[in-house]
Amino acid sequence: MQLLECDAKVLLSRYAVASPAGFVAASVEEAEAAASRLGSGSFFVKAQLRAGARMTAGGIRAARSTADVKIAAGALLGRKLATAQTRAAGLTVTKVLIEQAVQARRAFYLAVGIDEVRAAITVTLGESRSGDIEQLLREEPDAFSRLYLSINGECQPGDVASFCQGANLSMQEAEGLRKTIFGLHQAFVELDASLIEINPLLLTDSGAWIAADAKLSVDDNAAFRHSDLAPLGFDAEADQVERQAQRHQINFVQMDGDIGTVVNGAGLGLATLDMIRAAGGAPANFMDVRTTATSLDIAQGVALVLDNPRAKVLLLNVFGGGMQPCDTIVEGLGIAYRRSVRKLPIVLRVTGNNEDIARLRLANFNLPSTDCSDMWQAVTRAVAIARGGKS
């Protein structure tokens, strides 16, 4: 769950992480008022989106006067903005953040994240440079210093000092950076973050550290500990289909092909996408029916495939496990087809626990299905149907 920059900055301010003076505005009038309250000087008008790469997409605009702020806010508010991290259609800008521009002596990239191999919290610091930060992190890892912290903030003695030294800072500046890092670490743990990224983190002439931007993502698995953050993470434009699937114990990702998939298990779901592509077809979705899904949940998942106008065929690839035998899935399939007017041809491969019972249920439901004995046969059959072959 990614938060908006303006919400992230409010949360981080509780951990002594400073950001430029600023106000949120939802209209041009509010933007003008915000600029007047901030006083003279220059400003930034920043589209508030749950996606990065706003700068190159024109979502962050410099303004030298209140009049400029009005123009920039008018150009952003209510418009769709597409960045490298949104879908092509973009996201609607409903809020802008008006901030006072900060005179910086130096600018840094600072991120707090998780190192999966070390099972530690990791802090990454580098001098700000032009270019795509993710590409720089990948291609020039040595340009960044890294620090590894435990949950309690412990690290090897000297690590923080040498980390700050690597940035070539004065004693006073290093102390300020240390406070910012430990503030972010505390925020990271208390908010169950999966990533906090400050890019850029500015060092001013007076030696203050200012977060000019803030990206904060919260671990979805820890949402039960943070009911207060749920409204901040709510995204009105998030894929309704995928959200609906989550409510029914199904991981679902919409894709742009024409072969709808119903699969139990993430690995088998990924393998099914690969096999469809290898056979020359294009998947309409990824689906991973979790073991906790009931037949009624599965019916909802199947309905999502049937409701997709692009889908021409439904490929069901199921390995019945301990918790979720084959007949539960076929039951869900039958319920969905009984409810739906649109009945796509079905190609299925069901094997594992209770597969015989599943075949009996399939016959009872009288579904338009082709039963295949192995996955590849089922996949090639589905591809042929999608291409206009006979079902």
Partner: protein, 294 residues
């Protein structure tokens, strides 16, 4: 011989009195696993599935000599349960729970460091030594005892792989699910160490996917030890859309095709045979094993 579990495994189940715990404990008992106790805080002294229930892991171990634990505790308390088992010095802990917060897993790994415990999971289907012992939630009807060790990040694909191996006339020594989460207990390398040293295991099947670095680490390890036993790998997910969570939290990636290509290249360079598609793993392993035998 099998690895991690054998006929002397004495299992306790944390969260046994919940419905998932009850269901799976029953299945494991049916399979022949020697389940000796359940642990549910506040329900100590009761009996469930004809087994004694204890308030704590330490009490259960003291009373029953349990040497392995299966964790069926819901996400909010799963890490606490794992840490309790680690502190009670249980040699093997298998965590089935899905959706454990990632910072909780850092806490668990901090407790695990320097301990006597081996942790499998979380978000794992568990460990199966066919015909000997089942700890976990996997399908068992296709599994047969034999000589292929299986290590996998995916529960559903493990069932598929086991089915294909059995159909190809190849039984399994031990199958291990390391789990689909980014931070977990034992990884591919530790599982490979055990399976390559196990006399019953004559070949190893690695089931990988996009995201994380399990496969890269396995490739480094295999390259350094140059094992005599053949290893086959499958890496799925090259057609996953970018930046989307595909069921496994560990399988989140920016460029899936590049990630799979990189993993495949490193594994192949280390001498691993790559199964070109998920439906071919049984055949590839059978051809490889029969070639070695010839």
């Amino acid at each position: 011989m099998t690895v991690l579990v054998d006929a002397n495994t004495r299992l306790l189940c944390q969260g046994m009195t919940g419905w998932a715990g009850t269901y799976h404990t029953n299945r494991m008992i049916q399979y022949g696993t020697n389940v000796v106790a359940g642990v549910t805080p506040g329900k100590g002294g009761r009996s469930h599935l004809d087994l004694p229930v204890f308030d704590s892991v330490a009490e259960a171990v003291k009373a029953t000599g349990a040497n392995a634990s299966a964790v069926f505790v819901p996400p909010a308390h799963a890490a606490k349960a794992m840490i309790e088992a680690i502190e009670a010095e249980i040699p093997l802990v298998v965590a089935v729970t899905e959706r454990v917060p990632v910072l909780d897993m850092i806490r668990v790994r901090e407790a695990l460091a320097g301990s006597r415990t081996r942790l499998i999971g979380p978000n794992s289907q568990g460990v199966l030594a066919p015909g000997v012992c089942q700890i976990g939630v996997m399908a068992t009807n296709r599994a047969r005892a034999g000589s292929v060790g299986v290590v996998s990040r995916s529960a559903s694909l493990t069932s598929e792989v086991i089915s294909q191996l059995t159909a190809a006339g190849l039984g399994q020594s031990t199958t291990i699910g390391v789990g689909g989460d980014p931070i977990h207990g034992m990884g591919f390398v530790e599982c490979l160490e055990l399976l390559l040293a196990d006399p019953q295991t004559q070949a190893v099947m690695l089931v990988g996917e996009i995201g994380g670095t399990e496969e890269q680490q396995a490739a480094d390890y295999i390259r350094s030890v140059r094992p005599a036993k053949p290893i086959v790998a499958l890496v799925v997910g090259e057609n996953a859309p970018a930046r989307r969570r595909m069921g496994h939290a560990g399988a989140l990636i920016q460029d899936a095709a590049a990630d799979v290509a990189n993993k495949v290249r490193l594994l192949r360079d280390a001498g691993v045979i790559i199964a070109p598609s998920a439906h071919l793993v049984g055949e590839v392993m059978r051809d490889l094993v029969s070639k070695r035998a010839a």
